[in-house]
C-alpha cells in the first residue's frame, strides 16, 4: 500500500465566535489556503472529505465546492463530535491508502455559538441540569480531572499550570485566538466555572477552519511535491470500550489509550520518538490525563510533567505549542485538522518563534465525547 503524504495544509486565524459570514465561506477560505500551500487547483482534487458538527445535515462540503469550484467530485460529509476534523482527514487518508484516489482534499470547519456546551437538556419532564448534577462540559471534564486527583493527588495548581503554559505558547502563534500571557495567579483567580476549572482553564469558542491536501506516493513524485511533504505514519481511531461508570462519566482515558496503542503499532515507533504533541486540551483538567494516556510519561507522572516544564516549548516533549484549544481556540469540526496543520508546520521547520527544533515525529490527538478518539502520527518526509 502507498504511503500517504500531506502536501498542502493551512488554517484560518481563529476568531471570536459569531464573526463569520457563513460556514461555507469559512471552509472555502481554508480549502483555498491549503490548495495554495500545495500549489494545486481544486480541479486536481479527486474527492472532498468535509468535517462539520453543528450543520451536520447541511451538506457543508458541497457548499464549500459551490464557493470554490463545482467539479463534480464525490463529497463525504463527516460529523464525529470533537474528532470530526480528524475523522474527515482520516477518511481521505484511507481512500488513498486503499488506492481509490491519488489526491484528495480534507476540510474541517465550524461556526460556533457562545456560552456553555453540554447539559442543554432534551427529553421530556423538567430540566435536569443542576438537579441531577451537571452535564455541562466544564463540569464533566472537571470530574475527569478529579478522578486523576483521586488516584494521584493532582492539585488545582497543577491543572492551572496547563493554562499558563498553553496561553504562553499562543503568544508566539499569530493564528491563535489569544496572544496573552496568563500568570498562575490570574488563571487560579479567574471566575470559577466548575471546580477545578476556572474560566481561563476552559477552551475558547471560536470560528475557524483548517484544510489539508493528501496524496499518494506516486502522485507526490509526479507533482514533485516531496520537499515540504509530511508522511502520515499512522492514522488510528477508537470508540469507547465498555466501562462501569461510562453511563454517567465519559471515559476519555480508555478510548485514548486504545487509539494510541493502535497508532504506535501502525507507525512502528514509541512515545520516546515523538518530538511534539498537539492533544485535546478542551479543559485544563483534560490535558494532564492525556500525557499518561498517550504514553508520554508513566501513570501518575503527569503532575511532574507540568511542574518541571517537560511539556513546555524547550522541554523534552512540548505539548500544544500552538496554544492548544485553551488559547488557540476550539472550533469543534476544525480542531482535528488544525492540530495536523500545527504539527506539519513544525516538521517543515516553518513554525517561527514557537518552532520545536529538529522535529521529526509529531502526534495529534482529539477526542469527542460519545466517544471518538483519533490519533495521527506524522513524520518529516525528507
Amino acid at each position: 500500500m502507498s504511503d500517504v503524504y500531506v502536501v498542502g495544509v493551512d488554517m484560518t486565524k481563529f476568531q471570536k465566535a459569531g464573526s463569520t459570514r457563513s460556514v461555507s465561506e469559512l471552509g472555502a477560505r481554508a480549502a483555498l489556503m491549503a490548495l495554495d500551500d500545495a500549489g494545486l487547483k481544486i480541479q486536481q482534487m479527486e474527492a472532498l472529505y468535509c468535517g462539520n458538527l453543528y450543520q451536520a445535515s447541511g451538506m457543508v462540503g458541497q457548499r464549500v465546492l459551490q464557493e470554490i469550484g463545482q467539479t463534480g467530485i464525490p463529497v463525504v460529509n463527516v460529523a464525529n463530535a470533537c474528532a470530526t476534523g480528524a475523522t474527515a482527514f482520516r477518511e481521505g487518508w484511507m481512500a488513498i491508502k486503499a488506492g481509490v484516489y491519488d489526491v484528495v482534499l480534507a476540510v474541517g470547519v465550524e461556526v460556533m455559538g457562545k456560552g456553555l456546551l453540554g447539559g442543554g437538556g432534551g427529553g421530556g419532564g423538567i430540566p435536569k441540569e443542576g438537579l441531577l448534577g451537571s452535564a455541562t462540559m466544564p463540569a464533566v471534564f472537571a470530574e475527569a480531572g478529579m478522578e486523576h486527583a483521586r488516584k494521584y493527588g493532582t492539585t488545582f495548581e497543577q491543572f492551572a499550570k496547563v493554562s499558563v503554559k498553553n496561553h504562553h505558547h499562543s503568544t508566539m502563534n499569530p493564528k491563535a485566538m489569544y496572544q496573552i500571557e496568563t500568570p498562575l495567579e490570574m488563571v487560579m483567580n479567574a471566575e470559577m466555572i466548575a471546580y477545578p476549572n476556572t474560566k481561563l482553564m476552559c477552551s475558547v469558542n471560536v470560528d475557524g477552519a483548517a484544510s489539508a491536501v493528501l496524496c499518494s506516493e506516486r502522485k507526490l513524485k509526479e507533482l514533485g511535491l516531496g520537499k515540504r511533504a509530511v508522511r502520515v505514519r499512522a492514522s488510528a481511531m477508537a470508540s469507547d470500550p465498555w466501562q462501569e461508570r461510562d453511563l454517567v462519566m465519559p471515559d476519555v482515558n480508555t478510548c485514548t489509550r486504545l487509539a494510541a496503542k493502535r497508532a504506535y503499532e501502525m507507525a512502528g515507533c514509541s512515545p520516546e520518538d515523538i518530538n511534539l504533541v498537539e492533544l485535546h486540551d478542551c479543559f485544563a483538567t483534560a490535558e494532564l490525563l492525556h500525557y499518561e494516556n498517550l504514553g508520554l510519561c508513566k501513570d501518575g507522572e503527569a503532575g511532574r510533567m507540568i511542574d518541571t516544564g517537560e511539556v513546555a516549548l524547550g522541554g523534552r516533549v512540548p505539548v500544544n505549542v500552538s496554544g492548544g484549544l485553551l488559547s488557540k481556540g476550539h472550533p469543534l469540526g476544525a480542531t482535528g485538522i488544525a492540530n495536523i496543520y500545527e504539527v506539519c508546520t513544525h516538521l517543515r521547520g516553518e513554525a517561527g518563534k514557537r518552532q520545536v527544533p529538529n522535529a521529526r515525529f509529531g502526534m495529534t490527538h482529539v477526542i469527542g465525547l460519545g466517544s471518538a478518539c483519533a490519533i495521527h502520527i506524522l513524520e518529516k518526509a525528507n
Binding site: G130, L131, P138, R150, A194, Y195, E244, R245, V248
Partner: protein, 142 residues
C-alpha cells in the same frame, strides 16, 4: 390542569415510586455478565448478550467517586451546586447533586460514604404543573 393531590412524578424512568412505599432506584442487570445499567434496555453492551436484562433494585448506599462544584450554569439554574458521581454498593454508578455539605472543595472528601435520598425536584414543575420527585446524595451520618 394541575391537580393538587396528584402524586409527584419520577424525574427519571429508573426512579420508581410505588403506591404507599418509599421511592427507590431500579437498575437493569445483565444475566450473563452482571453489568448494571440505569434505565430500560434490551441488550448488554459489555458482553453483547441479547435480551439479557433483569430489573434489580439498587442500593441507597454508596461512596463519592468524584465531584465538581458548578458555579456557572444555564440561566435560571441556581448556583453553586455539587455535581457528584457516586458508586452504589452492589453495583451501579449514578450522577446527581450532592447536598447537605458546603460547596467547598476542602469540605468534600473523595470516597466518603453517602446515602441516596429522595426529595422534591427543587420545586421544578413541567408545563402541566406536575411536581417531580428526584434523588440526591447526602453525606452519611456518622
Amino acid at each position: 390542569m394541575a391537580e393538587a393531590a396528584k402524586k409527584p412524578l419520577p424525574v427519571v424512568d429508573f426512579l420508581k415510586v410505588p403506591d404507599g412505599g418509599d421511592p427507590y432506584l431500579e437498575g437493569q442487570k445483565c444475566k450473563q455478565c452482571g453489568a448494571v445499567y440505569l434505565g430500560e434496555r434490551a441488550h448488554c453492551s459489555k458482553c453483547g448478550a441479547r435480551d439479557s436484562m433483569q430489573a434489580t433494585r439498587l442500593s441507597n448506599r454508596g461512596s463519592l467517586y468524584v465531584f465538581s462544584i458548578v458555579h456557572r450554569s444555564f440561566p435560571g439554574v441556581e448556583v453553586p451546586y455539587i455535581s457528584a458521581v457516586v458508586d452504589l454498593e452492589g453495583g451501579g454508578t449514578l450522577k446527581g447533586n450532592l447536598i447537605g455539605v458546603e460547596a467547598n472543595p476542602e469540605k468534600i472528601e473523595l470516597g466518603m460514604p453517602v446515602d441516596v435520598v429522595f426529595k422534591d425536584a427543587l420545586g421544578r414543575k413541567d408545563r402541566e404543573g406536575n411536581s417531580y420527585v428526584s434523588y440526591f446524595f447526602q453525606p452519611r451520618a456518622k
